[in-house]
């Protein structure tokens, strides 16, 4: 009798926690994105795109003869939450993880996935600070800060810009981008008039704006996220700054126009290719719209490609053994994507630059080049 109760209790527990009780006929994919906090909308876009890819893969017969399911770990764009999310995913027996939006939150999770030997594909986070922390199982399919800086400097040179002001927020992503820009810009013999740091959540940028307008550089480069960037752009223009304003890929959001208003007109953004600017992404965007009744977000295409890549690696390796899967990924030359072909450098970053230049026109981003 006792055993019966025990078994029943065990079964109930297994059902309650959704653990596969007997034979494992599905493979679980972990999704690590922020679904709460200030970056929650992006995280949800990314999770949606991964799940859309999983649906399509399952319809086509799944992976290794098994269907895929997914489980989300919320990193809240916060290092501590991210560590919890990663530990949770690692403990739940996932065969691979797609995720990583905020660089600062992604860095501390690399070791956890590394220790658990779980292949990780990072669709968005692209600080170069991730590279030395990578234990060898993480692959970045977004171009890194290095590529973004190269694109930015190429653009500034093309516009005849000689002096710039750089502003960041002191977090892993924006500081990395700012430092790299400063280093390469000055190495090319150009001038950085201001190198400013602001607090996240600050509303008043007047002091920084005065410091910039008094130095009057040809361009201002904001390397942090859209939320505070919108306020800064507005205050720069209100105080009569006339030069070019450029922002990094963290500010590539339609929300920027809501915050900055008409001041965002003519603002330049360096960004990874988003669905709306890729003709080959039309089918994806339609399927996304049909399933979620919303347009794909800025990192949806890359998240979709990341999932496709992971499924391809599992199929090609013919096993879920992580060493084999990682080896397959390292040698990947994967072209079944919407954002362009994926292959990796020895550092496990994308082997090409995917950055495009966007311009704010009429309250929306348009492709500038």
């Amino acid at each position: 009798m006792r055993n019966v109760i025990k078994t029943a209790a065990g079964l109930a527990l297994a059902i309650a926690f959704g653990m596969p009780a007997v034979a494992q006929d599905t493979l679980t994919i972990g999704i690590m994105v922020p679904t709460t906090g200030s970056e929650a909308t992006y995280g949800q876009d990314m999770a949606n795109a991964v799940n859309l890819a999983i649906d399509e893969i399952n319809k086509a017969g799944g992976v290794l003869g098994k269907q895929l399911t997914s489980t989300i770990g919320d990193d809240g764009c916060d290092a501590q939450l991210a560590v919890n999310a990663a530990s949770k995913l690692a403990a739940s027996g996932v065969v691979g993880v797609v995720g990583g939006y905020c660089s600062g939150a992604t860095i501390p999770t690399l070791k956890i996935y590394g220790d658990a030997k779980i292949p990780l594909i990072i669709p968005a986070a692209n600080s170069t600070k991730l590279i030395p922390e990578n234990p060898g199982n993480a692959f970045m399919i977004n171009s890194t800060g290095n590529d973004q800086v190269a694109k930015a400097i190429e653009y500034f040179n093309g516009k005849g810009i000689k002096s710039i002001a750089i502003i960041n927020q002191g977090d892993a992503y924006s500081q990395d981008l700012a430092d790299l820009t400063k280093k390469n810009w000055e190495a090319a013999g150009n001038k950085v008039t201001n190198f400013e740091v602001t607090n996240k959540g600050e509303q008043d940028y007047s002091a920084v704006v005065t410091a910039i307008t008094s130095a009057n550089p040809d361009a201002v480069f904001w390397t942090a996220y859209y939320a505070d960037g919108g306020l800064l752009i507005r205050q720069l223009r209100e105080r009569g700054y006339q030069g070019l304003i450029a922002v990094g890929d963290g500010s590539n959001s339609p929300e920027l126009f809501k915050i900055a208003g008409p001041a965002a007109e003519g603002v330049i953004a360096f960004s990874n290719p988003t669905a709306e600017f890729l003709p080959q992404a039309k089918a994806f965007a339609d399927a996304y719209q049909a399933k979620y009744n919303a347009a794909p977000g800025p990192y949806s295409t890359l998240s979709y490609d990341a999932m496709k890549l992971l499924a391809w690696a599992l199929t090609t390796a013919g096993t879920t053994d992580s060493a084999k899967v990682i080896e397959t990924l390292q040698g990947a030359n994967f072209t079944d994507t919407i954002s362009g072909p994926i292959s990796f450098t020895p550092e496990k970053t994308l082997a090409r630059s995917n950055f495009v230049v966007l311009e704010g026109k009429g309250g929306a981003w348009t492709l500038a080049q």
Partner: protein, 304 residues
Amino acid sequence: MSIFDIFTNQLLNGIVLGSFYALVALGYTMVFGVVKLLNFAHGELYMVGGFAGFLVLSFLAPYIGPGWLGVAVSMLLAMVAVGFLGVVIERVAYAPMLSAPRLSILITALAVSLVLQNGMLTLTKGQYVPFGAALGFGGVRLGNLFISYNQMILVGVAAALMLGLELFVSRTQYGRAMRAVAVDKDMARLMGINVNAVIAITFFLGSALAAAAGTMAGAYYGSLWYFMGFLIGLKAFTAAVIGGIGSIPGAMLGGLILGLLESFGTQLPGVGSEWKDVFSFSVLILVLVLKPTGLLGKPEQERM
């Protein structure tokens, strides 16, 4: 721009920023003076005030326009609404705790702050909300210094509110009752002062001032966010401590000093925006070392 122009510009920036800090700091200092509570939910009342002003303005804009008249009316209504919210918070969350150890009520205040912040996160889904005021860009140019009408009105309104509060506290019967409760709650009760009513008035006024600052910030900076009260709450608390917590003129002075320190710190060679917070908080530590009660605070007397 010459050094002098940069100086005058940063002076103006500091005064505008300091006005916001001072308005929010007043609420901290009044509540602390009367009930000895560090109301950490105060920054959140600034945020709620901004959203309340936004709501009123979106209803009224079709009738009176989104200009300064609309903002002024929204500000007044937001002040009343958030003032009552402050009283409700005091009655529900703080009043039952007033005789409990100070630490318990401090933690309650943090809890209230989280409730307000996350409540607004849920309501707005974490999105930025454009305030929708249209205040124009006009102003007066003095050499290389441009003072917008918005800045003048903003500083003027802040000064008027602070002056009004100072007069209320120093000249009216309620103000006298408030000061009496601050000195000795039990003795004030024996003298026939309705202590609960005085505490309610204190919370009402403090919250209303935060709401005024929140609405003006929304109109001036152009957008609202559920998290906007956090940093200013911290800064205003710092301002209140610099000026001497519990002292009303101290909060005004502290706010102004902190605003100026941040503006000039950004421009100082060797400090810059990277170190400006280190700079202004070092001043805070220095003030506390040299004068632990703050610039205008009075030492608390132990009564035997």
